[in-house]
């Protein structure tokens, strides 16, 4: 296989801030906490950081100025689009692979973004908001409903994802919600956007995650186990739209997954642990199908009962508790956990001998994923 750009980069360090409900600290402070931790974890100092790539929300200008970093490059800032939340990791890899940068700081900070309606009817939202569709909850539930119709997927099967994530969260001291839930509690939670109830939706928190993407030849100087990028995916073939994709239920995850597997000789059977975006339960189920862990339409039976996706199961998923229970850091906590798992640093929730992990984020047209190895 040709030399891929992602093989010229690795993750040298990671950091996470305090996480939780209404921490009373600004996103910038949290971003700086995570950044300084990640820089130290990589065995570096601020002087070594020569690039920043971020989805925000703490603006990269503010982080750069606070750090006093001298940069060769800053990634274009803002939004999701093709590559989804993880597009900023892809940009960092590209900056390192081209030689423009040597150590890029990537971060995501969040300050309790609620589902409250704030924006006007502009861009693609202009085709949703006039019909009182204000939330991704509804747009994802629309896909889940069709999946139920086409394949017989049930609420109980989606519930297995929520129940399992909560069980995993009990092993994560930083998780926002750690009390176990039963399937009955999931089923009886109030409706949000039917077929989604409250426990199909993730929990907003404050927090930040940072990682350092370094040139592959930094490996001998990494104090911790370096994590490699076996393959990346950020492509999009279908329409950049929440309601116009011809292959509706599979979302852009289909395009991402195909690209991922086209860039590696590894197969789904080689994967030891998956950390997958679960802003809503259905997104995780759909990622499992698209990534090839089961056939199209068989995601429901695959997750049913939760055994297969639990720690100790065939394919442990969202071992940190997911966004459903640990909290919503928009794809970056799941990436952080995938890295910890490969480094053997996941503590009570460590998957024994984890060597290959997937970090997959996003839904609708905004999707991207990474295949990581130790």
């Amino acid at each position: 296989m040709r030399e891929l750009l992602e093989r010229r980069a690795l993750v040298s360090g990671v950091g996470i801030s305090k996480t939780g409900r209404r921490l009373g600290r600004s996103g910038l402070e949290l971003a700086l906490d995570a950044a300084m931790t990640a820089i130290a974890d990589a065995g570096l100092t601020v002087e070594d950081i020569d690039g920043i790539a971020t989805m925000g929300e703490a603006p990269p200008d503010d982080v750069k100025n606070s750090l006093g970093a001298r940069l060769a490059w800053m990634a274009p800032f803002g939004g999701q689009g093709a590559g989804g939340h993880l597009r900023y990791v892809v940009q960092a890899i590209m900056a390192v692979a081209t030689g423009l940068c040597r150590h890029v700081l990537v971060y995501r900070s969040v300050s309790m973004l609620s589902g409250e309606f704030r924006d006007g009817a502009t861009g693609d939202a202009a085709w949703h908001i006039p019909f009182h569709e204000y939330s991704a909850a509804s747009m994802v539930a629309m896909h889940a409903r069709r999946h139920m119709h086409d394949y017989g997927t049930t609420r109980e099967q989606l519930g297995a994802i929520a129940v399992t994530s909560r069980r995993h969260a009990a092993l994560n001291e930083q998780a926002a919600l750690r009390e176990p839930i039963t399937l009955d509690e999931y089923l009886s939670a109030r409706w949000i956007a039917e077929p989604f109830g409250l426990l199909d939706c993730d929990i907003p928190i404050d927090g930040a995650v940072a990682l350092i993407v370094s040139a592959a030849d930094h490996e001998p100087d990494c104090p911790n186990v370096p994590v490699r990028f076996e393959a990346l995916a950020c492509g999009t073939h279908g329409k950049m739209s929440w309601d116009q994709r011809v292959e509706f239920t599979s979302m852009g995850q289909d395009d991402s997954a195909r690209q991922l597997w086209s860039r590696t000789d590894l197969k789904p059977a080689d994967v030891d642990v998956v950390e997958i975006y679960d802003g809503f339960t259905y997104l995780a189920l759909n990622w499992l199908e698209n990534l090839g862990f089961c056939k199209r339409g068989e995601g429901g039976p695959f997750v049913e009962g939760g055994i297969r996706i639990s720690l100790g199961g065939e394919l442990p998923m969202n071992t940190y508790g997911g966004q459903l229970s640990a909290g919503r850091l928009h794809g970056y906590w799941l990436l952080y956990e995938a890295i910890l798992q490969l480094q053997g640093r996941a503590g009570a929730r460590q998957v024994d001998g984890a060597e290959v992990a997937i970090a997959a984020a996003g839904g609708g047209p905004n999707t991207g994923c990474l295949l990581l190895t130790r």
């Binding site: 309606f117 202009a126 949703h128 019909f131 009182h132 509804s138 629309m142 956007a193 989604f196």
Partner: protein, 142 residues
């Protein structure tokens, strides 16, 4: 009639979207269509994604379709809305995969199902005629 009376947040009118949002006074739903290859294009764009034709204009659709998927929204995302209400993806009869996000009105939310036949029904707001859909008793075309 489960009509929503609260003002909808509507987009800015442009040359490209004007007929979609404002031409429904006569009860006809109009969608942009490529004059060269006859493909319907929604949302409207200045270029046909199928043949790259640049000559597109609004044409009258059948105004009928089938519910492709739907959500019953219960959460009060904005004050003043009457939950629950139905948000739906309707596939128009005029072309496969030609879909609109819209609301289903004129029936109880529990009565809605995938495959349900629906017909356009406009609700006026200022200069806008917003296309919603109601259950259609007519026969499905061949």
């Amino acid at each position: 009639m489960n009509e929503r009376e609260e003002p909808r947040v509507l987009p800015e009118i442009t040359d490209l979207n004007r007929d979609f949002w404002t031409s429904g006074r006569d009860g006809e739903l109009r969608i942009l269509r490529c004059k060269a290859c006859r493909v319907w294009c929604h949302p409207p764009r200045p270029m046909c994604p199928e043949c790259h034709g640049r000559d597109l204009s609004y044409e009258t659709t059948s105004g009928k379709g089938t519910i492709y998927s739907y959500v019953i929204n219960h959460h009060p995302w904005r004050p003043g809305l009457r939950e629950p209400y139905v948000i739906s993806l309707v596939e128009l009869d005029d072309q496969r995969h030609l879909r609109l996000t819209t609301n289903i009105v004129g029936c109880r939310p529990e009565a809605v199902f995938i495959g349900m036949r629906v017909a356009v029904r406009f609700v006026a707001q200022g200069d806008f005629f917003v296309p919603l859909f109601i259950p259609d008793d007519g026969l499905r075309p061949a």
